[in-house]
């Protein structure tokens, strides 16, 4: 499934385009483009004067369209306050983590120390755009353990779920919709979620690297390290790591936990 926001990036545009096209159907195409991006149109001449501008229609059209997209995105982006405050809240509450996040890069690392260990949690924003593979429903694999997980982890979700307060569809927190509804109802469930908070379901995988000074340094390795990969679809994450780890066999190539020696 494609993430819902990714779909939304396309949908409203076409609607807007349709509206403006129909309202000025008598205008010439070039003029329509200019009208559609009136703000952009006023800015284009400035760029012409300061740079070697391209004059071919395709470049100009693309540039104008991209400006349009940026404007729409920033207008639609009026609701990330929840996410921003949730992130801030987490970092305030968990000051042991430091974030390494470089603009323009898709990998993000969280780092902390635990005794003599160095812990790195790494994830990629590319996950946002990766649809869940067809037929890959991790929850199915979990049916046997369903009750255990509900009882063992719902408490945790309630108490630790503070970071999730901003979300309007609280149903996610205690019970993943996929667990509580029949398959036929899931689409409706997702639609409702989308209307409420725009949160899409996407699998987020996290690599956990734990390094310790070589205690067992028989083979000259100064560090021993453990790499674990956890995967979850976002709404399932409140059930968290155990469930995520249990997904691991669904991705044999990546979702592994392994011991390896740092050759450094």
């Amino acid at each position: 499934m494609l993430s819902l926001r990714a779909v939304a990036r396309a949908a409203p545009r076409s609607a807007a385009q349709f509206a403006s096209t129909s309202s000025c159907s008598t205008l010439r195409p070039a003029l329509q483009t200019a009208l559609r991006s009136s703000r952009i149109a006023t800015r284009i001449p400035r760029y012409f004067s300061i740079s070697h501008s391209r004059f071919d229609d395709a470049s100009q059209e693309l540039a104008a369209k991209l400006s349009d997209e940026m404007r729409l995105e920033s207008e639609e982006d009026s609701s990330p306050a929840d996410s921003d405050s949730n992130i801030k809240h987490f970092l305030d509450q968990n000051s042991q983590w430091t974030i390494e996040d470089n603009t323009g890069e898709q990998e993000v690392q969280l780092k902390r120390k635990y005794d003599d260990e160095e812990i790195t949690v790494s994830f990629s924003i590319a996950d946002f755009n990766s649809p869940m593979m067809d037929g890959e429903d991790p929850d199915e694999a979990m049916m046997d353990d369903e009750e255990d997980i509900q009882t063992a982890q719902s408490g945790g979700a309630n108490t630790k779920g503070a970071v999730n307060q901003g979300r309007t569809s609280g149903g996610n927190i205690k019970v993943a919709p996929e667990d509580s509804v029949a398959p036929g109802d899931r689409e409706d469930m997702r639609d409702a979620e989308d209307e409420n908070d725009g949160q899409a379901a996407f699998p987020a995988s996290v690599n956990v690297l734990i390094q310790r000074p070589g205690k067992v340094s028989i083979d000259l390795a100064p560090y021993q390290c453990l790499v674990l990969t956890c995967v979850g679809r976002a709404p399932c994450w409140p059930h968290c790591r155990q469930r995520c780890l249990q997904h691991s066999n669904r991705h044999p190539s990546r979702q592994v936990h392994r011991l390896q020696n740092d050759q450094h």
């Binding site: 997209e69 940026m70 968990n94 993000v108 949690v121 790494s122 924003i125 996950d127 691991s248 450094h264």
Partner: protein, 72 residues
């Protein structure tokens, strides 16, 4: 080796262990507790998708800007 190299470095030849849910149940639980002690917990699991969501939006805007700058 940096942590990035270590994480990106996954020789297929290394034995990766059995699928997690085939591990002894106690081993699974204790591994969970081990991670929990290190802050790999529910709060983190909630935080990560949220962070991805926000950063992806920022990067998307940046990407739009860079492509636009290039083509015009």
């Amino acid at each position: 080796m940096t942590s990035t190299e270590l994480l990106g470095h996954a020789p297929e030849s290394l034995y990766a262990g059995p699928p997690f849910q085939q591990l002894d149940e106690d081993v699974q639980n204790l591994l969970g507790a081990y991670l929990d002690a290190r802050g790999i917990n529910t709060a983190l699991a909630l935080f990560v998708p949220e962070y991805i969501d926000v950063k992806e939006q920022k990067e998307y805007m940046g990407w739009l800007g860079r492509v636009k700058e290039f083509v015009e």
